[in-house]
């Protein structure tokens, strides 16, 4: 499997996209530092990048890469190589190179400015969102043979989780605002990885935003060890289910 990962890595590096992505993140982070020396505000601005750009780049890059590697995958599958190994190698190579780009692109400026402390939650959520959306993109890619269709599905995932879902959630809150909704909304949040990541970061950054009785409830929940464990396990589930489903489909897929 490591042999295959090596070649996928090689292929990813060849396109140089990852380098652009790293540079983009680095330029953004440096720019935020230039505009505002306050680490808290830099993290806040980066939070938007993490919540929006990271998932978007992850889905688009992954789907395009998957279809560009179709020949490679075909070639590999005619060899004495396990299908699972090929697929997981693709996943690991794509996910780790995107994660690495993120960690270097965002982390390097912080290290340079000597700000270690405030970025831990940013890093963790950024890495998790990358893993989740690479998973979802692989899932979208094995659903169809058509590249355009797959990118469409992957973008739909992104659009759904970053906008539509929240709209529906707001609608639910609006429609049932007379009822105690804390537990329900908490449950609904679990079904959206972007929301989960956002709340983990919010608790680190914007604590006074969570005010009022409701805010106190959420803070008590997500702020506790149990809450952190809960949200991290949910994110892990969000990484695992799409890729495992994708693997199942891929194992039976005709090439």
């Amino acid at each position: 499997m490591t042999r295959i990962i090596k070649y996928v890595f090689y292929d990813i590096l060849r396109t140089r996209f990852i380098l652009f992505y790293t540079a983009f993140l680095m330029v953004c982070t440096f720019a935020f530092f230039q505009i505002d020396g306050d680490f808290g505000k830099v993290v806040l601005s980066l939070m938007n990048i993490v919540l929006m750009a990271v998932p978007l780049v992850s889905v688009v890059f992954t789907t395009i890469h998957f279809f560009n590697s179709y020949e490679f995958i075909e070639l590999m599958l005619a060899q004495p190589v396990n299908r699972r190994a090929v697929f997981l190698s693709e996943y690991l190579a794509v996910a780790s190179s995107l994660c690495l780009a993120f960690v270097v692109g965002v982390g390097f400026p912080f290290v340079l400015y000597g700000a270690w402390q405030p970025i831990s939650s940013l890093m963790i959520t950024g890495i998790f969102l990358t893993l989740v959306f690479v998973s979802l993109a692989f899932f979208a890619s094995v659903l169809t043979r058509d590249k355009a269709k797959a990118i469409g599905i992957a973008l739909l995932f992104w659009f759904y989780f970053s906008l539509i879902y929240d709209g529906l959630l707001l609608w639910v809150i609006y429609s049932f605002s007379d009822y105690p909704l804390e537990k329900l909304t908490l449950t609904l949040i679990a079904f959206n990885p972007i929301d989960l990541a956002r709340i983990i970061m919010l608790l680190q950054l914007d604590i006074s935003a969570l005010m009022g009785y409701t805010g106190a409830f959420y803070k008590n929940f997500f702020g506790s060890n149990l809450g952190i464990l809960f949200s991290l396990s949910l994110l892990i589930i969000w990484v695992l289910w799409p890729i495992l489903f994708a693997l199942r489909i891929f194992n039976r897929k005709d090439l």
């Binding site: 005619a78 060899q79 004495p80 005709d254 090439l255």
Partner: protein, 242 residues
Amino acid sequence: MILIDNISKKFGTLTALDQVTLELKGGKSYALIGPNGSGKTTLIKSILGLVVPTSGNILFDEESILNDWKYRDKIGYMPQIGRYPENMRVGQLFEMMKHIRQDKPKFDEELLDAFKLYKIFDKRMHALSGGTRQKVSAALAFLFHAPVLILDEPTAGLDPVSVEILKEKIVHEKQMGKLLMITSHILNDLDEIATEMVYMFEGRIQYSNTIELLKAETKETKLNKAIATLIRQRELLQSVTE
């Protein structure tokens, strides 16, 4: 060596393979023929595990291949249309394939030499012509001393000299006692290579026997004539039964 046991494959509403049963024995050389869309490539891909049959089973050395992949170690495959990572150089491709199957102690680089592929090692795959690509495919198929060779349209697109080189190689491998399975439209080529013939039509195997017997049955000396006669006989039979 390979037992195809009653497999069917449906792509949506289209039935590509319809209850195909076939036994392929070591040391023999099979010509798989049939019109376009008769299911030849699907059958080959099923053997390779690239296509998963809707029903039925395929046994390789008495073991089911359906959830296995190690058996492919014993197969050299030359696809009809070779699709390779387009950005890769030819040399890198060979490096990689050797690297992936590195448990082989020695590689069979006869075709590499014969086709003079060393000369284009620094060319990228997307820059290759169809024929050169075929040469690369062929060289890859023979590279690992595989006891089973599956060649899908091996001579299509090759220049006459290369065709001869490839044919020689195939004959040589056959003499080494390998199992060969070849599809081709150029029946004259098969005449020299194959000993057995499998004729497919609309996803079914219509005829499977030795070429000797076929020729005897149809009283023809050339394979292409024999097959033409066979098809005519079948059509006649069909019209009578209808």
